[in-house]
């Protein structure tokens, strides 16, 4: 058999090395394995491919997907087609960063450690919180992590989640809750947003209230009032936020959130069929020793120079084991680094302009869909950010299918998650869409809906 390109040992290396070990064959190295647990045959897999062959095969699979470069897409619902600048790719492909492990040895890892420290700073600046972890898996799992923080911080065992929070977030929170011993209570929305009084009564004896801003329908919640209602009931207010809205929307820390978290994908990651992305999780100082996951801290070296280390590790599984604040080891550092590079690229002015562009384009789209396609906006008296719901007058999944035949993906059929919303479409408009593309969406929807 030819030498595999990912191996280095030659036949004579093998022979010498076996001699140094004191065995005759590689087979002998496995003598501790009982015969009965050995496979005893070749793995039933297709033959090994060369790089060129694997490229042809996998690229052909990629060709069969209708991605946002082939189809004009207004699909959002938690994942967004924002522009990712070339600098993100360039930095993330630096092998020193790409191929490093978790920075257990800080003197070998100052690059990634400093970058995470800078990321934590950016997240705190955006959210108005005091401390950020180094990232969580995604926008769903960080919400579950926060429930664990809240349970232990309050000693209570109920968590309130608003119905207008991303359905996948709610589903993951419920799945984790089975292990945490938490009861999850959902608060319904009223005409697209959540009623603070409803939150306050549901939050009685609750550890936390989780709501999303902007919410899953794209509407702006009365966030300061929801936070106040949760606080009044003695529950920790937890805001699930969109980082890219925080150039124009108030930082949750400024109106009293205990924790702010969310999905980081929109800021610097491709949609990538759902991952890998990063979840961000930030909190007020009082929760620093209950935080899940890695945190980087600044310190000094033996010569008094500044440097960075993983810190507060007594929270973590490798030290505390069954008493740890979470089981997280591997998180999403590289994707969070992509987030930092992206936010640095934007800067404060770019972030504000991006938020304004989303607001403008989405408002334009809402207007075109009403006027040109004759669609009724849902929750019409509510302010929306980059996403909004419209009634399409027939099953929205059929509308999606018909529009896709015309090369436009018009959005997300809310009936997939919400009862009674079968004819409602959730349309996302990022800065990546142009007014001309929005006109085309309106044309296509007018045609499809009229059929």
């Amino acid at each position: 058999m030819t030498q595999h390109p990912f191996l280095a040992l030659t036949d004579s290396d093998r022979e010498d090395m076996l001699g140094a070990i004191g065995v005759d064959t590689v087979h002998e190295l496995f003598r501790d394995l009982p015969e009965a647990v050995r496979l005893g045959r070749e793995l039933d897999l297709e033959r090994a491919l060369s790089e060129q062959e694997v490229f042809a095969h996998v690229a052909a699979l990629a060709e069969r997907n209708a991605d946002a470069s082939r189809e004009l897409s207004f699909l959002g619902a938690g994942m967004y087609d924002h522009y990712v600048p070339a600098v993100v790719d360039a930095i993330l492909q630096r092998g020193e960063l790409l191929t490093a492990y978790t920075p257990y040895q800080p003197e070998m890892s100052q690059g990634v450690l400093q970058a995470i420290f800078e990321y934590q700073t950016a997240i705190c600046e955006l959210t108005g919180m005091d401390v950020s972890n180094a990232s969580g898996y995604d926008g769903t799992s960080v919400a579950a992590d926060a429930c664990y923080v809240a349970k232990h911080a309050t000693g209570r065992s109920k968590v309130v989640v608003t119905e207008a929070t991303n359905p996948q977030v709610r589903q993951v929170v419920k799945t984790y809750a089975a292990g945490f011993g938490l009861e999850i209570v959902e608060v319904p929305h009223h005409d697209g947003t959540t009623d603070p009084d409803g939150v306050e009564s549901a939050a009685s004896e609750a550890a936390a209230v989780i709501f999303q801003q902007p919410n899953f329908f794209g509407c702006l919640e009365p966030a300061p009032d929801l936070v106040a209602a949760a606080t009044e009931a003695g529950a920790l207010p937890i805001v699930h936020a969109d980082l890219l809205s925080l150039g124009v929307l108030e930082a949750p820390g400024r109106y009293g959130a205990a924790l702010t978290l969310g999905e980081g994908q929109a800021a610097g990651n491709f949609t990538s069929f759902g991952g890998p992305h990063y979840g961000f999780l930030a909190a007020r100082t009082e929760f620093i020793r209950r935080m899940p996951g890695r945190i980087v801290g600044e310190t000094l070296d033996a010569a008094g120079e500044r440097g960075y280390v993983l810190t507060l590790q007594t929270r973590e599984q490798h030290i505390r084991r069954e008493k740890a604040t979470s089981n997280i080891t591997t998180n999403q550092t590289l994707l969070a680094l992509g987030g930092l590079v992206y936010l640095t690229w934007l800067g404060p002015q770019g972030l504000r302009e991006l938020g304004e562009a989303c607001l403008s384009l989405a408002a334009y789209a809402k207007q075109r869909l009403e006027q040109q396609a004759g669609l009724e906006s849902m929750f019409a008296d509510k302010t929306t950010f980059k996403e909004f719901a419209v009634r399409v007058g027939r099953n929205a999944r059929e509308v999606v299918a018909a529009a896709r035949e015309r090369g436009v993906h018009p959005g997300y059929a809310l009936g997939r998650d919400y009862e009674g919303m079968d004819d409602i479409l959730l349309v996302a408009v990022t800065e990546r869409r142009t007014p001309e593309e929005i006109d085309r969406l309106a044309d296509v929807l007018a045609e499809v809906v009229a059929r």
């Binding site: 595999h4 990912f6 191996l7 040992l9 090395m17 076996l18 065995v23 190295l29 496995f30 647990v37 490229f55 996998v58 060709e63 069969r64 997907n65 209708a66 991605d67 994942m79 600098v87 960063l97 790409l98 490093a100 492990y101 040895q105 003197e107 100052q110 990634v112 934590q120 950016a122 401390v131 995604d138 769903t140 799992s141 996948q168 993951v172 419920k174 089975a178 108030e250 491709f270 949609t271 069929f273 890998p276 620093i288 310190t299 070296d301 120079e305 440097g307 280390v309 490798h318 084991r321 069954e322 740890a324 979470s326 591997t330 999403q332 994707l335 404060p348 504000r352 302010t383 007014p435």
Partner: protein, 502 residues
């Protein structure tokens, strides 16, 4: 070096956004929801951004930089083709809520990866959803819970057995899943102490969590007896796949009797670790556990297409958004297709490399268990510490001066002054020899010039860092005007008062 925030000057920027003529101005926001003060993100031009992060990368060490024998982390070469494939627009710009018909290539890739992982683990069904090994563990334990709930044994089975050599994630996951921990000892040969085990497994036991080979790098010789004890008690067997790189194509967890396995795609199957993620922690299960897997399941439809099946009434639910970290699947799938049945050669080489390094080091360091190892091994600096005051930490820091990333240290916990070395299949003999030479030289230095170890590293961008200070006075973000300067001195008042945007 400076933080990016310290390079910031008001008014600079790296981005320019598209401008649209005739677009109405943004609608007004309610006063109490509008941002009052802008976030202090860095303000730098694009080339300054690139230089900053490039400089950071030069202060970091990856597998692409050099040898990285970090035990239990399987730091192997990450093929570059994987990056090219994951970046294809058909994958990178595919939305996870795309209709099935518009995502056939992605679904087929996931289905094929599931089939490969089922064959490699010797099990029946796979869910790719968990985002990392520890989330795979939690998923596995929730599956255990759902399995016993369906049998009406929820109240009865509250205990999960874990050996004292286990990764810290195992006990942490046990607590998160609401179980009680039953620790079990390791015997003199490095196997689970079967006598201790017998007394601890009964009708209250839900599962065993085992890494095999263990974190000592040893294959448990009594695995068949262990399997008999658990299955006779009606409990399930969970396999922590962190060390799967030792046994691909040689012995499969399913053949060892395990019912649930998680696989670390970022270890065995070459997803680059990215300085701390992303990872991928698929779970593979026996048919009796399959009904409880997370939704949606990736399935092959009758007519040859692929789809997502949400209709799983007994599912535990979801542990992560969508179907998992898809870009990780692209990389691991490509890697697996480039190995195919030759995976056995991969694992054999990993084991050969580890045994060779062990053979060269075992006279200079203490050997807690004198056996052949699997893909990694644990030696101890106990004698160096006792006789010369040099600890495992000192050895690790000194290795940096020789240009190597240190091994995992102080783990597993049952070995004092542990050094856990995992060379992987990647390395050339010359590299292994250079590493062994360095380890032997360090052992001699500990005798002759111990301060060389204690003051190491000498040639890294920073000297040894004060971790106690970091934990006692946590500084976890940049403090802007109040932040200490790079030399560790408090910033002088004049600088703090300097006008912004100067």
């Amino acid at each position: 070096m400076k933080l990016i925030y310290e390079k910031s000057q008001a008014g600079r920027r790296a981005s320019a956004l598209p401008r649209h003529e005739n677009l109405p101005p943004p609608p007004g926001l309610p006063e109490n929801l509008r941002r009052a003060e802008p976030p202090r993100l860095p303000e730098v031009p694009e080339f300054e951004l690139v230089r900053h992060f490039t400089e950071l990368s030069t202060r970091n060490f990856g597998v692409d930089t050099g040898f990285y024998p970090l035990g239990s982390c399987t730091m192997k070469y990450n093929p570059r083709i994987n990056e090219r494939l994951a970046a294809l627009p058909g994958f990178a710009r595919l939305h996870p809520l795309q209709e099935e018909e518009g995502a056939q290539g992605a679904l087929e890739l996931m289905w094929r990866l599931q089939e490969i992982l089922a064959e490699v683990t010797g099990l029946d069904a796979v869910s790719l959803q968990p985002a990392a090994g520890s989330q795979g563990e939690l998923t596995g334990l929730l599956l255990v819970g759902a399995y016993f709930a369906a049998r009406g044994e929820t109240e009865q089975r509250r205990k999960v057995v874990i050996p004292d050599t286990a990764h810290g994630t195992n006990p942490a996951s046990v607590t998160m899943a609401g179980y009680e921990l039953t620790p079990v000892r390791t015997d003199a040969r490095g196997n689970i102490d079967v006598d201790d085990l017998r007394g601890k497994v009964d009708e209250h036991t839900a599962a065993l969590m085992l890494t095999n080979p263990s974190t000592l790098g040893l294959f448990d010789e009594n695995i068949q007896e262990i399997e008999r004890i658990f299955h006779e008690a009606g409990a399930l067997m969970y396999y922590d796949g962190a060390n799967l790189n030792a046994v691909c194509g040689i012995s499969r967890p399913g053949d060892m009797g395990f019912d649930i396995v998680h696989i670390n795609l970022h270890k065995t199957f070459s997803q680059p670790h990215g300085g701390g993620g992303p990872g991928g922690g698929p779970v593979a299960v026996r048919d009796i556990v399959e009904p409880f897997l997370p939704v949606p399941a990736v399935v092959q439809r009758g007519e040859g297409g692929y789809g997502l099946d949400f209709d799983r009434p007994q599912t535990i639910g979801k542990v992560r958004g969508f179907t998992g970290p898809f870009g990780v699947f692209v990389r691991s799938y490509a890697f697996l297709r480039m190995w195919g049945p030759r995976l056995r050669e991969m694992s054999e080489t990993a084991v050969l490399n580890a045994n060779y390094v062990l053979a060269r080091l075992k006279d200079a360091y203490d050997l807690p268990f004198d056996r052949l190892c699997m893909h990694e091994f644990v030696v101890s600096a106990r004698s160096l510490k006792r006789q010369h005051g040099c600890t495992a930490l000192d050895v690790a820091k000194r290795l940096m001066d020789y240009g190597f990333h240190p091994p995992t240290i102080y783990f597993p916990l049952i070995v004092p002054e542990a050094l856990m070395v995992e060379p992987t299949e990647t390395e050339a003999r010359e590299t292994l020899d250079a590493f062994c030479d360095a380890m032997l030289a360090i052992a001699r230095e500990a005798v002759d010039e111990p301060e060389l170890l204690k003051e190491a590293p000498h040639h890294r961008p920073v000297q040894r860092l004060d971790e106690v200070r970091a934990a006692k006075q946590p500084v976890v973000k940049y403090g802007f005007a109040e932040h200490p300067a790079a030399k560790g001195e408090p910033r002088v008042a004049a600088a703090a008062d300097a006008p912004e945007g100067a």
